[in-house]
Symmetry: C2
Subunit: 471 residues, 2 copies
């Protein structure tokens, strides 16, 4: 098996395993107690905090351990907003933040606050100018990820932090995807006010997040009071896991430059080879300014879920932002914000230590798996393609394809098959009630050099997407 | 070293250690993913949920794992209150709940809700009749612990649950101290609506709590949305720790009856011997209807912090509810609610497996440690007692002792030394601004057969506590 979903979670680093075992014996007592088991636990906790603070680039007394990265983000957003309530109730986030940030933003909005989303370009990158534009007098907090978790694009954290600092707005950086990679992926020296991270993303155990709040940043912890972790993270400290998290952070950081460079070349192989080996595939995300270990691509006429299952059977564990792999049947909000193809989407994120041979094997296997899924769907170029369900319309588009009730990637497949039947210069409409169509039909047009005319509500339900054949 | 603070935390059970190590290898991936590492993690999580649900006495789909017992209580209280918001905003708690519940109640009050505290008797027990009295039409939730964490008294959970059920009010049971002991300490079959627990209290790892919400109980999870754990506990599941927690719960339950009976006899030894071996000591809490492993006593004329340090040096780790051991310089709210002596307070809670010889050694060491602390303080009966700072007053009490600025147990020591100097039938006042005096001066009078006349604000600051010498 090759596990290629490091951005979701990585196995425990050997250093973490070792530290955890030792700390289970030494760190199980309450660090608030004065007896020796308590003092021993406190020493372990203090040492872990120092190590983690050094890796993060803050003072130990600025850093609290939370119960997860999600908790760090939820509490960081709520605490900073509450601390700045007098300044205003405005929250600024990028459109491609992790769902934990977007959920915190939704909760803020539900409680009467305002949320402004800053869009991204087709590479998934926010523009500092766009941030500058929306920072207002009532902005209490801005949030920006250090790097995108789905496409790997690094964000201009230092520039946005400067803009925020100049306007007196605290910036919370979601560094979940970057802490393992250190300064290169973290915009070291950026003037952030709060920073959040998650240990199981860097080889630490689950159950540990971290939240750094710079001295001087106004912060009012949400929820019931609790004396643990400077009042910022309630509940009995999970010291063995915290010790293991800090130890593994140091260990991965020590290897980050070398291992990052090695994985970068493997990812470059994927970025180059996938479009060459797989017809109608698009690699998304910034090709240069990106995380070293992560690459995302999408494949036309492919059902993402079937692709994941096919790759799983072939021994590869990857994730996908396709709508069919989501419980909401919506394509990933990141791909939507970027306006890129979402069907047949695959995210590959290589854990440290991934052998180059595994990547070569992936490249050897992928084209066959994609072809098989396409064949099953009757995709253009695949086998056993059924005749398209097209009919002539008396007015408007030459052809209307009724794909109502059909899920991604069927509407795009039907479009591709039918467009060959209309004259160059004529239009065709696809009726679809699938969320992915909004994203994938324009993306298909871009990839195939056809004109995307637009979308409008259809009298039959769903949306009519109109495309003009250009070639 | 003998660690006698199981009510705070216990070391990892060997079964938990074993389960944790195995699950670290198998359960690190995201259980929401479809690839094999994710499916393996999901299987482990499902099996742990079934095991824990069986031990708790609920259905697996009623049980969520949280990041701590505190989180279970915070989220349980907030979620049940929000779910019942239409019914009203009244919250009923006992006065001796864990601080996590009282903090959740304070947060509810700060947000405009109402909180009613039900008092306890001198044994620390609530009366079902008192609960019945305060359950009103606008009561959204009632909370009651299964057993008190400081004095071990079992609460009448089944009776209170019936009262609540009859009135349609959900009851949340804080079972943190009881889950290890099973039905005997849990009022098995009680008609609770919600139940919370904490794994590190039963030999599981830190970082795992559990929250059970019975089907049909209205519940609206607080804070930002998150799809994990039925939406009730946000953040990536800590599966290795959850697996270890469930395994250790089964293991301790299998031994609970036998080990409970054995520890009960050890605790009985302490309950009998401490008052015999240590002059002016009082054992508090219910002597019969109690947790098997826990006993609390207080010693007159003793500084709790010095006593903890003395016992620590002698090799015993215990905790205390004395004011001097608290960051707020307040005696424990449990001892205050019971109206019992708080000075020189010691809680002994024996972890499973405690050898009887350790308890005997504790009983052998305790009298000397208490005597030493008393001697250092110049307590009555100790050595080098300084003359009391008493002076005659022209009117009112025969003698006024100025103990302003002096901390527990000094005001009581001064009182005890000075009372011998006033005639039988005459009164004496102690001026004190120490929070513990409110509790300890009346308690001292009760223990020594003197009359506690009352307290009133003093012109010199603090409070004047008046005592009449009866013998």
């Amino acid at each position: 098996m090759s596990y290629f979903d490091a951005a979701s979670s990585v196995p425990l680093h050997p250093v973490a395993t070792q530290a955890l075992h030792a700390a289970l014996d030494e760190g199980w007592a309450d660090p608030a107690r004065v007896y020796r088991e308590g003092r021993r636990a406190r020493l372990l906790l203090d040492a872990a905090r120092e190590a983690a603070a050094e890796a993060v680039g803050c003072r130990p007394d600025e850093l609290s351990f939370t119960s997860s990265g999600t908790a760090a983000l939820h509490r960081g957003v709520a605490g900073a907003l509450a601390g700045r309530r007098r300044a205003g109730r405005g929250l600024v986030v990028s459109a491609v933040e992790h769902s934990a940030v977007l959920h915190a933003a939704a909760a803020h909005e539900a409680a009467g606050g305002t949320v402004t989303e800053v869009g991204v370009d087709r590479l998934g990158r926010v523009s500092p100018a766009a941030y500058a534009q929306v920072l207002g007098a009532d902005t209490a907090l801005a949030v920006l990820q250090s790097a995108n978790h789905e496409v790997g694009t690094l964000q201009p954290v230092a520039e946005v932090a400067d803009l925020c600092a100049d306007r007196g707005v605290p910036l919370l950086v979601d560094a979940a995807q970057s802490l393992a990679w250190g300064p290169a992926a973290l915009d070291a020296g950026a003037r952030w006010s709060l920073l959040a991270g998650s240990a199981h993303k860097w080889g630490g155990p689950a159950g540990v997040g971290l939240l750094a709040v710079r001295k001087g940043v106004r912060f009012a912890a949400p929820g019931p009071a609790d004396e643990r972790e400077s009042g910022r993270a309630p509940g009995f400290e999970n010291i063995p896991a915290i010790v293991a998290a800090a130890a593994s952070l140091r260990a991965v950081r020590a290897q980050a430059a070398a291992e990052g460079a090695r994985l970068r070349t493997l990812v470059d192989r994927i970025r180059t080879e996938v479009p060459r080996l797989v017809p109608d595939a698009e690699v998304v995300g910034d090709p240069e300014h990106r995380l070293p270990h992560l690459v995302t691509f999408s494949c036309l006429y492919v059902d993402g879920e079937a692709l994941l299952h096919g790759l799983d059977r072939a021994g590869f564990s990857v994730s996908s932002g396709s709508s069919c792999t989501s419980s909401t049947l919506m394509p990933s909000h990141v791909l939507r914000a970027m306006g890129v193809l979402s069907e047949g989407n695959v995210r590959v994120s290589l854990p440290p230590g991934t052998p180059g041979a595994d990547v070569e094997r992936f490249l050897a296997v992928l084209p066959g798996v994609v072809a098989e899924v396409r064949a099953q769907l009757g995709a253009p170029g695949g086998e056993s393609a059924p005749a398209p369900a097209a009919r002539a319309a008396p007015e408007g588009p030459a052809v209307v394809i009724d794909a109502l009730g059909r899920r991604c990637p069927v509407p795009v497949i039907e479009l591709a098959k039918a467009l060959g039947g209309v004259p160059v210069g004529a239009t065709l409409s696809v009726l679809s009630d699938d969320e992915a169509a909004k994203l994938d039909i324009p993306a298909w047009c871009g990839m195939r050099g056809q004109e995307y005319v637009g979308a409008q509500p259809s009298a039959k339900g769903g949306t009519a997407f109109t495309v003009r054949r250009l070639s």
